[in-house]
């Protein structure tokens, strides 16, 4: 088991290194790195100084080494727009995005799996078909449009929920969170629901397909032949079998949720990393863009690693074969 973990860790490090090379090439080798990293409003003396400071006149592999060193120590340049380290900007905004993403995933999982189970057990029933029709709508609707409609209905027409911003936050272990107070919750509700909708539909479809397939398996028939109540057959026998691919999907989709948060944050003016990215793109604040990409890549590789480990922990066939490998 330890061997397996170490092997996966090494693979992740390799993946990170490759990605860092790609990003480095994208930033330094394509186009003019001077434009990307130096404030376009700086004068010649400033440009010369920063060029030397960033080592832009050095051979490429030296630059890569410097880039790597800087990245590992968290120095990714200073934002043009705000003249603070880009990394700091992003880290400040990260909790808002992560909280939003987590809420969205919780909603998607808490609703998606039970609905999918129900739809899969009796695939020809009217409620199953309704759920499936709903799920098609759910992943067809572009996220931003759903956000629009939500604002239209709940803010403008009904006036129940605020349409922008994060509202009040309370500190949880030194990190500001919204869900612990009522004002924050009302601000969190729509964005989280908006972000959750696509994943919810995905999970419903996935769970239903898995359940449908599982119900036809011999072990379900055998479980019934043993006289087990249907509740146990579904909640233990079927669920445990379909959980493995579903957990994998949930894990991998979490990264995608963080990316999609870009849209939701823009619509609801949620002060997270995504909104920061859009604002930065609009004002061409390139260090922030680069920093965002690096951090996202890192998060993705991390998530992939965790999901892989989780998968092997859950599936006894994989776990035991890895042990003997």
């Amino acid at each position: 088991m330890i061997v397996f973990i170490i092997r996966r860790l090494l693979q992740s490090v390799v993946a990170l290194l490759i990605m860092s090379v790609l990003i480095f090439v994208g930033v330094y080798a394509i186009g003019n790195p001077v434009d990307i990293l130096i404030n376009p409003q700086a004068d010649q003396i400033e440009i010369a100084r920063v060029t030397a400071a960033l080592g832009l006149d050095q051979p490429l592999w030296v630059q890569y080494w410097e880039f790597l060193k800087h990245a590992l120590s968290g120095n990714l340049g200073r934002s043009f727009a705000q003249n603070v380290p880009a990394m700091q900007l992003i880290l400040e905004r990260m909790p808002a995005t992560v909280e939003l993403a987590l809420c969205a995933m919780v909603i998607a999982v808490a609703l998606g799996i039970p609905l999918g189970l129900v739809a899969g057990m009796k695939p020809d029933s009217w409620y199953s078909k309704t759920i499936m029709a709903g799920s098609i709508l759910g992943f067809s609707l572009p996220t931003f449009w759903v956000g629009l409609v939500l604002i239209m209905v709940f803010s403008v027409m009904l006036g129940w929920l605020p349409s922008t911003g994060r509202g009040q936050t309370t500190l949880l272990f030194g990190v500001p969170v919204s869900f612990l107070n009522w004002d924050g919750l009302t601000h969190l509700a729509m964005p989280a629901l908006n972000l959750a909708l696509f994943k919810l539909s995905l999970l419903i479809r996935l769970t239903r397909a898995g359940t449908r397939e599982a119900m036809l398996q011999d072990y379900v028939k055998f479980a019934r032949a043993k006289g087990l109540p249907m509740r146990r057959v579904v909640l233990v026998h079927v669920l445990k079998n379909i959980m493995i691919p579903i957990v994998t999907v949930i894990g991998l989709e979490f990264g995608s949720v963080i990316a999609f948060a870009i849209v939701t944050e823009s619509i609801f003016a949620w002060p997270g990393m995504g909104k920061l990215l859009i604002d930065s793109i609009n004002v061409l604040d390139r260090p922030v863009i680069v920093a965002y990409v690096l951090i996202i890549v890192f998060m993705f590789v991390l998530i992939n690693l965790v999901v892989d480990l989780l998968y092997s922990a859950l599936d006894p066939r994989v776990r035991l074969s890895e042990m003997t490998a």
């Binding site: 098609i136 931003f144 449009w145």
Partner: protein, 295 residues
Amino acid sequence: MSVAVERSPFARIASDFAASRLALSGLAVLALILLAAIAAPLISPQNPYDLAQLDIMDSKIPPGGVSADGMRFWLGSDDQGRDMLSAIFYGLRISLGVGVLSTLAALAIGLVIGLTAAWFGGWVETVIMRLVDIQLSFPSILIALVLLAVLGQGVDKIVIALVAVQWAYYARTVRGAALVERNKEYVEAAQCLALPTRRILFHHVLPNCLPPLIVIATVQVAHAIALEATLSFLGLGMPITSPSLGLLIANGFTHLLSGKYWISFFPGLALLVTIVAINLVGDQLRDVLNPRLQK
């Protein structure tokens, strides 16, 4: 004993497809939308991009209202006095055009790359597939955003971004299907006959890769349209001179809060109906063309 009548595969697919009323209605709606998009200049009451036809006095009229010179705004008008119905027809044109164009281009590129990978195997295949894997592990919106940040604005840049986001999916599908075909005996036979590689690939392997490709392409058109709409909404997509549905929605966003919902809502509805129709058709196509579900 009766003999089963042999139908052409196309007839079988068509009749299987028609078994779902939902899919058929999706197809019908899609046909209507395509017609509307192609015939936009002919059926629009007004050309919303001809500044001479606009009157600022006609702005923000609710649906059903009438303009200063008697033209009825069935779906209302926006803040520049444009008729929403006309704007939607033109917008459909652009949205569909960009979506279909980028899908076809991505399909062509992905096809070539996938076939290359499957045919040559070895390290060529490994390198290509690793690239595909890396690209596919990132969400499309992220890749598109970063590309547009680097490339800047413009219709061609958007198409490039959309193609860059999609090609990997086709490449992977084609390579998978081509691998299955490559291992079949008829390819070996063709190779024994010393047929040129190109001929084997295009006349024999390719036709068998088509069914999954068709399914994916259909659904991907919807995805491309949605992605373009999202990018335009975020301000990184189509320029104001050729507004797609996404841009129309973005324009109306600010007016939403003051109750003038129609400027955003109707283009949004048009977008929604288009995407749902495409998805319905694609879903049924997938079930029909999937050999494993054949009863």
